[in-house]
């Protein structure tokens, strides 16, 4: 009954209660939706880090990270990897040869990390074969001698990628082309722009106005062309200390959306690079391990380490501490935001409940006079406060839930904000918000706690006056 009275009491002053509920709804909505976006962004970053960069675990020579010396590797790595792959919880294992070198075309050169991989095995460990864009060529073939797979950013640096308008203009330009800018835009067709700035300037000039960042980003993505089958010369130091090199043909371009990976890594056949660099058979610099369940890599670490005595085994959290740190931070961000917002909302709630108690002084006096004890009066005020907070919170969660469910399907495009900036830090420009019901339940508990705390002052005020005095008030 006290619960029923508390609920009905809320609706005595509809406007006042609705304002408080709206404040809670808005506050909780912004926190839940904001957190879902952050979690979605971070989950994607983590996925990319694991599936395109470091896997769940990696094994290296303990000193390899210091200077990436070609001699610091793992002997008999293939046998150890085979044995590791049979362990429970291990999904797949890839052994790699890593050699620092220079990649050069006729026009440009750039420093690279040459990754010698077994293309078929690598498919089970990383998603590199899945991140080849449209018209970006193919992944390394099984017997891929002489083939090289390079990142999009490196392709741009080596002038193996350029902007060129097709005969069919991008959608963003079509509306302009139909009107005033058609001849100017037509004149750009077929021209190769290797620099962003030159292409953007040309587009802006042809359109007669400055295009938005969103339009520019989209036009650039649609106009990017790759020079496939072009020759790239890799130069590197061999195992015996000699400078060596070989020419490769670009079979494909990958785009992990992490500019740091796309700008440095190139993939070639492991056996081929081993031969060119005179690396002993079975020798590898890196063993990458993908787990069945990646949530607890620390538990598998010892087993992996046991297969490679004297070597250094690290989890993705140790290999990319920045990602692990950001993930921890994002996992807790909702609580931090919610605590701050709840603190502000609690002041409004206390004020509202103080007013409600003040208005009902005589009624509260009557209730205590007829036999409602202090505990029950306190409980009634507390329930009213908590119900007021929860109602707004449920509304906020519902609205956020609907929006998150919708955006989880359609995604949120952040490319027009600063797409290249996101990619430079390894984040996807297209994110899918993620709602976690466990955290929502915990947030609800926080709101209830805030409601209970907010009820203390009004309830004490309600109990402070003697019933006989309360009954005298008008």
């Amino acid at each position: 009954m006290i619960l029923v009275i508390a609920w009905k009491n809320i609706w005595r002053s509809k406007t006042r209660s609705l304002v408080v509920m709206a404040a809670f709804a808005l506050g909780v909505f912004s926190v839940v939706f904001g957190a879902a976006v952050m979690i979605g962004l971070m989950d994607r970053r983590m996925y990319n880090a694991i599936h395109n960069e470091v896997s769940h675990l990696q094994v290296h020579h303990p000193q390899f990270a210091d200077n990436e010396d070609i001699h610091l590797g793992i002997r008999h790595s293939d046998a150890a990897a085979d044995s590791l792959a049979r362990l429970r919880g291990i999904k797949s294992v890839s052994t790699r040869i890593l050699v620092q070198g220079m990649a050069g075309t006729a026009e440009k050169t750039a420093g690279v990390m040459i990754c010698g991989i077994n293309p078929e095995i690598e498919k089970h460990v990383t998603d590199i074969h899945r991140v080849i864009p449209h018209k970006g060529g193919d992944y390394l073939s099984g017997d891929c001698r002489g083939e090289i797979l390079i990142g999009e950013k490196l392709a741009r640096e080596l002038n193996l990628a350029y902007y060129s308008l097709h005969d069919t203009l991008p959608r963003e330009l079509l509306s302009l082309a139909k009107e005033k800018a058609s001849p100017a835009l037509d004149s750009l067709k077929g021209i190769r722009f290797v620099s962003d700035k030159a292409f953007e300037d040309a587009l802006n000039q042809a359109c007669g106005s400055t295009l938005s960042a969103k339009s520019l980003y989209r036009i650039k993505r649609q106009s990017l062309q790759y020079s496939l089958r072009k020759k790239v010369v890799l130069t590197f130091q061999s195992y015996d200390g000699e400078l060596t090199g070989a020419a490769f043909r670009v079979c494909g371009i990958f785009r992990t959306k992490n500019a740091m990976v796309d700008g440095v890594r190139v993939f070639v056949n492991k056996d081929e690079i081993a031969e060119l660099a005179a690396i002993p058979k079975g020798f590898a610099h890196e063993v990458a391990v993908l787990l069945e369940d990646g949530t607890r890599p620390d538990e598998v670490k010892a087993a992996v380490s046991g297969n490679f005595p004297g070597m250094l085994t690290e989890t993705w959290k140790e290999l990319q501490p920045d990602v692990a740190y950001m993930k921890t931070m994002v996992d807790n961000i909702m609580y931090i935001y919610l605590s701050i917002i709840l603190l502000a909302l609690v002041f409004g709630l206390v004020n509202t409940m103080l007013m409600a108690v003040l208005e009902r002084t005589r009624e509260l006096g009557m209730l205590r006079a007829v036999g409602m004890n202090n505990k029950r009066v306190f409980r009634m005020i507390m329930l009213e406060t908590v119900l007021l907070a929860i109602s707004g919170t449920v509304a906020g969660i519902l609205i956020a839930g609907i929006l998150i469910a919708w955006k989880a399907k359609t995604g949120i495009d952040l490319s027009y904000l600063y797409g290249e900036g996101y990619e430079a830090w390894g984040f996807d420009t297209f994110l899918y918000p993620v709602i976690r019901w466990k955290e929502i339940a915990e947030a609800m508990m926080l709101v209830i706690l805030a409601g209970v705390l907010a009820s203390v002052m009004p309830a004490r005020r309600a109990l402070r006056m003697k019933p006989v005095d309360a009954l005298k008030t008008e």
Partner: protein, 227 residues
């Protein structure tokens, strides 16, 4: 059989101008089934006496016995429970819970007593029928007239099966017809069910129906007449 007895109770209020003896050494005894009115001019101590007898206030000296229990010796928590199970209150301003229906207002007091649902329902219907509001049980106070609201208040006071009902100026806010109607109901309940009613009042209509009239002046009983 005494249901209520006050023994030389005094209530003193300390104010800037000095002490006010609102109730000054009053000793009274009430038997079961009395229909008594406490009358007197404003400031004579009627309401203070009623509050003391109802356990809403404590006397500075003296004792108050309800069914031979000295309520002055009870602590605050015990006193709340004592009021809940032993005393019915009717206030001048009705003091119903506006968000509850007449039925819920009456039932609420029995919920505080933790009585079973079936018993609550039956008693609610009984007392509301007794005050002539069987057809207005689902109405909220705002939809009832002043007289009807006060009848709900009487029903609420009776619902808990108290030893006596204290009514502070119950007809003060009512028109003549409603007041007469309310008094008739209370008189009937007193006569047929031996419910003890003690009123504080200015209203001559209440005085006319009371079988005992206690007159207070300056906190003292100057007359105690039984018809």
């Amino acid at each position: 059989m005494n249901v209520l007895e006050t023994r030389s109770i005094t209530r003193i209020y300390k104010e800037a101008a000095g002490e006010i003896r609102a109730v000054d050494g009053i000793s009274l005894t009430f038997q079961k089934g009395e229909f008594a009115a406490i009358v007197g001019p404003s400031g004579s101590g009627k309401t203070t006496l009623l509050n003391l007898m109802g356990g809403l206030d404590r006397p500075d000296t003296g004792s108050i016995l309800v069914d031979a229990v000295d309520i002055c010796g009870l602590n605050a928590r015990q006193l709340v429970d004592f009021r809940l199970y032993n005393i019915g209150f009717v206030f001048q301003a009705y003091n119903l819970i506006p968000v509850l229906t007449a039925e819920e207002n009456v039932e609420f007091i029995m919920q505080l007593q933790k009585r079973p649902r079936a018993e609550r329902r039956q008693r609610t219907h009984e007392v509301l029928a007794a005050v002539g509001l069987a057809d207005r049980m689902k109405s909220r106070p705002a939809k009832l007239s002043g007289g009807q609201q006060q009848r709900v208040a009487v029903a609420r006071a009776l619902a808990s099966k108290p030893k006596f009902v204290l009514a502070d100026e119950p007809t003060a806010n009512l028109d003549s017809k409603s007041a007469e109607n309310l008094l008739e109901i209370m008189e009937k309940l007193n006569r047929e069910e031996s419910i003890t009613f003690i009123f504080s009042t200015h209203d001559p209509r209440v005085v006319a129906r009371a079988r005992r009239v206690i007159t207070l002046v300056d906190g003292k009983v100057i007359r105690d007449e039984t018809a």
